[in-house]
């Protein structure tokens, strides 16, 4: 621990030596946390470092197996959510805890409804929420159905929920993961205001720029334990990253944009593609784009603007309603998933658990999914060949643990993703569709995956990158297109694109029309 000790009287939260197991997983190992009243304290660490678990313990969702929790100097170890709420502890979860079929007002007052014991006073609920909206600056219409809200609005409802319950300690789990840059700026404004009104805030995040910009103090966790505590003003992003990973990492936005002549024939060409979504008729609306060999085209945008449907249509999971898709000159608009793969399409899916891996299969088996015909003689799988392939990939992609017979379920997010990437890059492909390639992946693995993508690009592959992380888009892309409301609203060369330039397009505040 670094020297940032404070008198225990000023502490809003004090956690000592907390252990928590989930089955065989040791999520917290003697973890400590001290949060000074009236400060914004970042809780940082790689995925699986035990941050969320620790916050769930504080908010009463999980009891610790060992250790003590004090809130405002009172021992509250093992309390219930109801007790935590009564004591003024509010948690905003990473995955929103909202009931989509209820209105904003109903969601906010749920569990503490105005009215008598039996009847629910809806009018009073709406009045209460409206006055809270006015005092906090969290703008949202109390009468709307939560299902109809944007992600940013839904998050405001989450914060309103905690404020309605009189929260003086606010726990936020990765609040910016799904927000556009202007929404993030709004959130920081509100959080500073709330802090200045006397609230203590714990912010779970792994985005270093956020940590440096808004927090007062930083607590770093690694592998379930607390490894460092710093004052934000006295620390550097590199120092925080080193504490998170346990070694030096490069953080610079390295732009090594490749220049590909516009005359080069595109490897992937999409024209006026229209795709029906689950809820909207035109989730992808007349999208045209082209990716040439040796370049990375990044698609920036807030999630839910048609990226998933576009990816599905390219890979062949979802039929296009209109438009065409060509791969190396061949029309594949109506081709099957297998035909597209055989034509040279590799795909890193956005949700590796859903589409990228079979969690109970071994590393070796996952490494040949979709390639099994290359590892079999007749109807029989060639075990020796599969094992040799696995050993080689595990070494090349630094997959840990290194035993290819282990089930993928037991791997960390970063290593699971490396399995997906190793498999896709081992195909014979000309076009790679990489969706959220580093989602839920730790800092060290991000660096590795980015390098792998750059190498593929330099080897002459055409890469379409879709990511909700603007920073990732800026780091990797040679050209950047922004998707909003199912359309490509603008496109920039890498040199002309910055967060400030792209932000307004991502929220729909600006649009150039359908630039191709």
């Amino acid at each position: 621990m670094t020297a940032a000790t404070t008198g225990t009287g000023d502490l809003a939260i004090r956690i000592r030596a907390v252990d928590k197991w989930f089955g065989a997983v040791h999520a917290n190992r003697a973890a400590d946390l001290e949060v000074v009243r009236n400060e914004i304290n970042a809780l940082v660490g790689e995925n699986g470092a035990g941050k969320s678990t620790l916050m769930k313990i504080v908010s009463g969702l999980q009891p610790p197996d060992r250790g003590t929790i004090e809130v405002n100097g009172r021992d509250v170890t093992g309390w219930s959510t109801a007790e935590a709420i009564r004591a003024g502890v509010g948690m905003v979860h990473q995955h929103f805890m909202l009931v989509p079929t209820l209105s904003v007002a109903e969601n906010v007052v749920l569990g503490r409804e105005p009215g008598g014991r039996a009847m629910f006073d809806r009018a009073q609920a709406i009045r209460d929420v409206e006055s809270l909206v006015a005092s906090s600056g969290l703008a949202v219409d109390a009468n709307r159905l939560v299902a109809d809200l944007s992600v940013g609005e839904a998050q405001r409802v989450e914060i309103l929920k905690t404020l309605y319950r009189g929260a003086r300690i606010l726990l936020l789990d990765e609040p910016t993961a799904v927000l556009s840059p202007p929404e993030v700026a709004d959130l920081w404004r509100v959080l500073r205001r709330v802090r200045d009104q006397g609230t203590t805030i714990v912010l779970i995040t792994h985005k270093l720029d956020e940590i440096m910009a808004v927090t007062d103090r930083i607590t770093v966790m690694r592998q379930g334990a607390t490894v460092a505590r710093m004052v934000t003003k006295e620390s550097t992003p590199e120092g925080v990253a080193r504490a998170m990973v346990g070694r030096d990492v490069s953080l610079a936005v390295q732009s090594s944009a490749a220049q590909v002549s516009a005359d080069t024939a595109p490897a992937l060409e999409i024209r006026n593609l229209t795709v029906r979504g689950a809820r909207v008729a035109r989730a992808v609306n007349e999208v045209s784009l082209a990716v040439r060999p040796g370049e990375i085209l990044g698609i920036a945008g807030v999630e839910g603007n048609g990226q998933s449907e576009l990816l599905d249509a390219i890979v062949g999971f979802r039929a296009a309603e209109g438009g065409s898709l060509r791969l190396g000159g061949a029309d594949l608009t109506r081709a099957s998933v297998r035909a597209r793969a055989d034509a040279g399409l590799a795909h890193i899916p956005e949700d590796r658990h859903h589409r990228g891996l079979i969690l109970d299969y071994s590393i070796a088996e996952n490494l040949i999914l979709g390639l099994q015909h290359r590892f079999s003689t007749g109807a029989q799988l060639d075990r020796a060949k599969i094992r040799a392939n696995a050993e080689q990939q595990v070494r090349a992609f630094d997959i840990r643990p290194t035993d290819p017979a282990l089930a993928v379920r037991g791997l960390s997010g970063g290593n699971q993703q490396k399995v997906v990437i190793a498999r896709e890059l081992s195909r014979e492909f000309s076009v790679l569709v990489a969706a959220q390639p580093t989602r839920g992946v730790d800092v060290g693995a991000i660096e590795f995956i980015h390098d792998a993508l750059r190498k593929a690009r330099n080897a002459g592959k055409a890469i379409l990158l879709v990511s909700a992380e603007l920073r990732e888009i800026l780091t990797l892309s040679d050209r950047i297109a922004v998707m909003y409301g199912g359309r490509i609203v603008t496109e920039f060369a890498r040199a002309d694109a910055t967060e400030e330039v792209l932000g307004p397009f991502m929220t729909g505040a600006r649009r150039d029309g359908a630039a191709a």
Binding site: S59, M97, V99, L102, E113, A118, M119
Partner: protein, 291 residues
């Protein structure tokens, strides 16, 4: 006069559906699948026969029947909430269990494998409209859905039950005791649905083996056809009952085979679930045990 006859017959048929569908809406809105409505009804019917037989009072029969329904509801709740058993399997098991146990006690109590002796009941003699209007359960049945609508949409309990059925983790995180809400909803569901069976026994003045004859499943169809909304489910019950009445009245005419008319509720439900009459979205957490 024919219209009055038609209406009174339709209402007579609709009342058990209304009770059972009401029970179905209540439990399913809180996230527990109600395949056991048939069992609740049959249990209620048998309880009513015992109660009325022992005391000679129809009201005591009603109380005993509802107690049986609540007890069966508690069993379903215990299995699915406390022990997190599969809700569909548990529901089917309860239905089979009730068929068996009522048969057993029928033999034991009344020394018969087919029916109880005549017991006290509600309603006047005959099948006319006046006999119907004299039965308090008919009025209770008609009131079921409007009252349930108020419970679900206007009370604190209803708000919490809907939250628990859609997103139990969210409700839990706000300090709502998900299990408690679900227990209340499922036990209430058993009690309410059992009234459908109670009505059958007290209307016919006797219990006969397996007398509910699949009515619980038609009620479940009404719940789904009515998109888990009390008002719509009530209308579905009336619609199904009207179709059935038509079938009975047309039976003499032999226009179409009666089996086809009997299929109407199920065909309509398949049509509804297939999305022809607008989207039919069940509560999101239906069938899933809370973590």
């Amino acid at each position: 006069m024919t219209l009055l006859l038609f209406l009174s017959q339709a209402i007579r048929i609709a009342v058990p559906y209304l009770f059972a569908a009401g029970g179905g809406v209540l439990a399913e809105r809180a996230g527990i699948v109600s395949l056991s409505l048939e069992g609740y009804m049959l249990g209620g019917a048998f309880g009513a026969a015992i109660g009325a037989h022992v005391t000679g009072s129809a009201w005591a029969g009603l109380a005993a029947g509802v107690a049986c329904g609540a007890l069966l509801g508690s069993l379903h709740a215990l299995c699915t909430i406390r022990f997190r058993a599969d809700q569909i399997v548990t529901g089917v098991a309860i239905n089979l269990f009730v068929v068996g146990i009522t048969r057993f006690f029928l033999q034991l109590a009344f020394d018969s494998s087919s029916n109880s002796p005549r017991v006290a009941g509600f309603g006047g003699e005959g099948a006319g409209a006046w006999a119907l209007a004299a039965n308090p359960l008919v009025w209770l049945g008609i009131l079921t859905m409007p009252v349930l609508g108020v419970v679900i949409y206007r009370t604190t309990f209803g708000l919490r039950a809907r939250a628990v059925g859609e997103h139990p983790a969210a409700a839990e995180s706000l300090g709502i005791r998900v299990s408690a809400v679900r227990y209340a909803a499922v036990i209430g569901s058993g009690a309410l649905a059992s009234l459908g069976g109670v009505y059958l026994t007290l209307d016919q003045h006797q219990f006969t083996d397996s007398m509910t004859a699949g009515r619980g499943f038609i009620a479940l169809a009404a719940v789904i056809f009515g998109r888990w909304d009390p008002k719509r489910a009530g209308i579905a019950c009336l619609l199904f009952a009207a179709a059935e009445t038509l079938q009975i009245q047309l039976q003499g005419a032999q226009l179409i085979p009666s089996q086809f008319v009997a299929m109407i509720p199920y065909v309509l439900t398949i049509v509804a679930v297939a999305g022809v009459v607008g989207r039919s979205t069940p509560p999101a957490a239906l069938g899933r045990a809370a973590d």
